[in-house]
Amino acid sequence: MGSDHLSKQFDNDLEALRSQVLQMGGLVEAQVRGAIQAFSNGDLALADQIVAAEVRVNAFEVQIDTDCSHIIVRRQPAATDLRLIMAITKTVTDLERIGDEAHKVARMARQIHERGVVEVGRFANIRHTGDAAVNMLRQALDAFARLDVEDAGRIIAEDRAIDFEFKSVIRQLITYMMEDPRTISTALEIIWIAKAIERIGDHAKNICEQVIYIVMGTDIRHTKPEKDEDGKLLQKN
């Protein structure tokens, strides 16, 4: 009876931890979305808001890390539970980095628009790449919430599209810079933004890899995913 109660309590702890990660994810999602919007619309107030909210993302990271260590010390989790906690600590790091990138985009957006020389309409491509990255992050967090391995695998493949778009943005910016050297300083800043967006895609991909690790116990980082004849990911027993 006693041990039953303890493990129920443990389940609740894990569930609360997972919910916290997802709430942090929600905040980071909103940050990225807002940062890209601030850049596209030149909304300086929004950019300031994003910069200010960075503190909350960091607070989340510290809180969740502390909770993870507490659980490890108190419960000494094994197998799936341990995998979940390991994956959570890594996911939180990724989320915090995404928050940093959003912060960076917002700061750059501020700089660019305060100077007010660039017509961002021309860089519609960035908006597109940004939307793709936001979408990928959202799906990655959905996969984490649902522990959906199939989706996670699919999203990992999506990252290549973002890398491809990043390259096309760079090419486009190069042509602008060659046409008119006065655009160079702004274009360089926009490259920073594009790079940040590309990194967000990478971090979202990492989160998906953690989902696969939680469910299957396979570490697929730096490897090509093993698949059976039907193209389904192989489960490690």
């Binding site: 919910s19 997802l22 709430q23 994810g25 929600g26 999602e29 979305r33 959905d142 649902r146 959906d148």
Partner: protein
């Protein structure tokens, strides 16, 4: 004598009597032997039925009660009746439950049932669409795990749900939802969501409209007042002041045109009945459209005109004429001098089509969906210098919608545009025999016939 126990006791007594009789007649051994075998038989009979009962009880609940005979039959048939009653009851409840769930599913509002831990218990179709959740996979998941906007979590955790929350969803096509939590049985909550995206857009359109009207009227008024003050304050020679007066008159006419168009629009919107079946003389109407376009062009464009004889419309001549003129005049305004414009009227299938194609500047695909909004302009400076009011397409769309016609635009920047209006069969009438086809074809111009971005307007 209908109970199991009394009947068994009676049987035992009967057997004892028979055995006693046999004992008296054939000897005690026989008597005891008969009694024992009787008791044994009864025991076997009872055990067998007990086993049957045991099997039935541990089987699935839908299995029917086994048939039996003798004194157990009474018990079994009562069980059977009760089972039947229960099955009927269960079916009734299932039907009721299914019906109330169907009612819940069919609601236009999103309904999600959350338990005390804010985990999803049930949701209907609208809620699935609003939050991109699914009944199949997400039951038992905390709702804040999937709807992760910080303001949503804050609202859910606040515990004060008197005011609804307005939430912009993070999904691909952004929805604006109005969300409210309602307490429900046993610390469960109903999460109601309503899609208010359209209402929001309408609010924005209305706000923009007022701002636009004021702006559009203020611009000519500013010019007008500027000239008036100049004329009042300065001594001008006769030619100068005539020039100024002409410019002032022009600005005045511009304001008049805008107000007339606004009145036309409001008349179209407030007219209660869709125009009736009055036959329109299309030959005359099209000639009028053509004359207007040619007058506006003043010979700067090659305008070709093809009208199929024998196709008339039923409807309101004034509204149709204003819609067609607006389309034709737009083509004249936005096609640079030397360009070509083709106006066509013909039967298409069972309906009819009016189209205006040009090889002018064309329109970027991103502008197409908003083109029929009032005062929407692709290029502000350019449109005003061409003398348009910014209301022409809005009027055309309204007038055509009242005739069940659809307006479609195909356009490509640099190549030209083609505006086409389709009328359904119900609006087309065979023309009077005396009408004459007007057909003047120009040479050699290419038109935007089959351009890619086609936008069809909802009417």
């Amino acid at each position: 004598m209908n109970g199991l126990v009394p009947r068994t006791v009676a049987m035992l007594l009967g057997m004892a009597l028979i055995a006693a009789g046999a004992g008296v007649m054939l000897g005690a051994h026989w008597g005891w032997g008969l009694f024992c075998s009787g008791v044994l038989a009864l025991l076997v009979y009872h055990l067998r039925h007990l086993a049957m009962l045991g099997r039935w009880v541990s089987g699935p609940s839908t299995e029917t009660v086994p048939e039996s005979s003798g004194i157990w039959d009474d018990v079994f048939s009562k069980l059977y009746r009760r089972q039947r009653g229960e099955i009927r009851q269960r079916r009734r409840f299932a039907r009721l439950l299914a019906r109330s769930q169907q009612a819940g599913r069919a609601l236009p509002y999103g309904v999600t049932i959350l338990d005390a831990e804010r985990q999803i218990v049930w949701c209907n179709d609208s809620a699935e669409a609003h939050f991109s959740i699914s009944m199949e996979g997400d039951v038992g998941q905390a709702v804040t795990n999937l709807v992760r906007q910080p303001e949503f979590a804050a609202y859910i955790n606040r515990g004060d749900y008197a005011e609804p929350l307005e939430l912009t969803t993070a999904r691909k096509e952004e929805l604006i939802l109005s969300i409210q939590m309602v307490p429900y049985v046993e610390s469960h909550h109903l999460l109601l969501s309503r899609d208010v995206t359209q209402a929001h857009k309408l609010g924005i359109v209305r706000r923009d409209f007022v701002a636009n009207v004021s702006h559009e009227l203020r611009t000519p008024l500013t010019v007008l007042i500027g000239f008036l003050e100049t004329v009042r304050d300065l001594k001008l020679d006769a030619t100068r002041s005539r020039d100024y007066l002409n410019l002032m008159a022009e600005q005045g006419r511009r304001m008049q045109r805008i107000i007339e168009d606004l009145l036309t629009l409001s008349a179209l919107e407030s007219a209660p009945q869709p125009p009736g079946g009055e036959r329109i003389d299309m030959a005359a109407l099209l000639a009028q459209v053509r004359n207007e376009a040619e007058a506006l062009s003043a010979g700067r464009h090659t305008i070709s005109f093809e009208a199929e004889a024998g196709v008339d419309l039923a409807g309101n001549a004034g509204e149709i004429a204003s819609a067609f003129s607006n389309l034709a005049n737009n083509a004249v305004r936005y096609t640079p001098a030397g360009g070509s414009i083709r106006i066509q009227w013909r039967a298409v299938g069972e309906g009819a089509e009016f189209s205006v194609a040009d090889n002018g500047i064309g329109i970027d695909a991103e502008h197409l969906p908003r083109l029929t909004e009032r005062f929407y302009r692709v290029d502000r400076s350019r449109s005003r210098e061409t003398g348009g009011t910014g209301l022409g397409l809005a009027i055309a769309k309204h007038a055509l919608a009242r005739h069940q016609a659809t307006l479609a635009i195909a356009s490509e920047p640099g190549k030209g545009s083609r505006f086409s209006v389709r009328f359904p069969k119900s609006r087309v009438r065979a023309a009077q025999p005396h009408s004459v086809a007007v057909d003047i074809t120009s040479a050699g111009a290419t038109f935007a016939q089959d351009l890619t971005p086609i936008h069809q307007y909802k009417t």
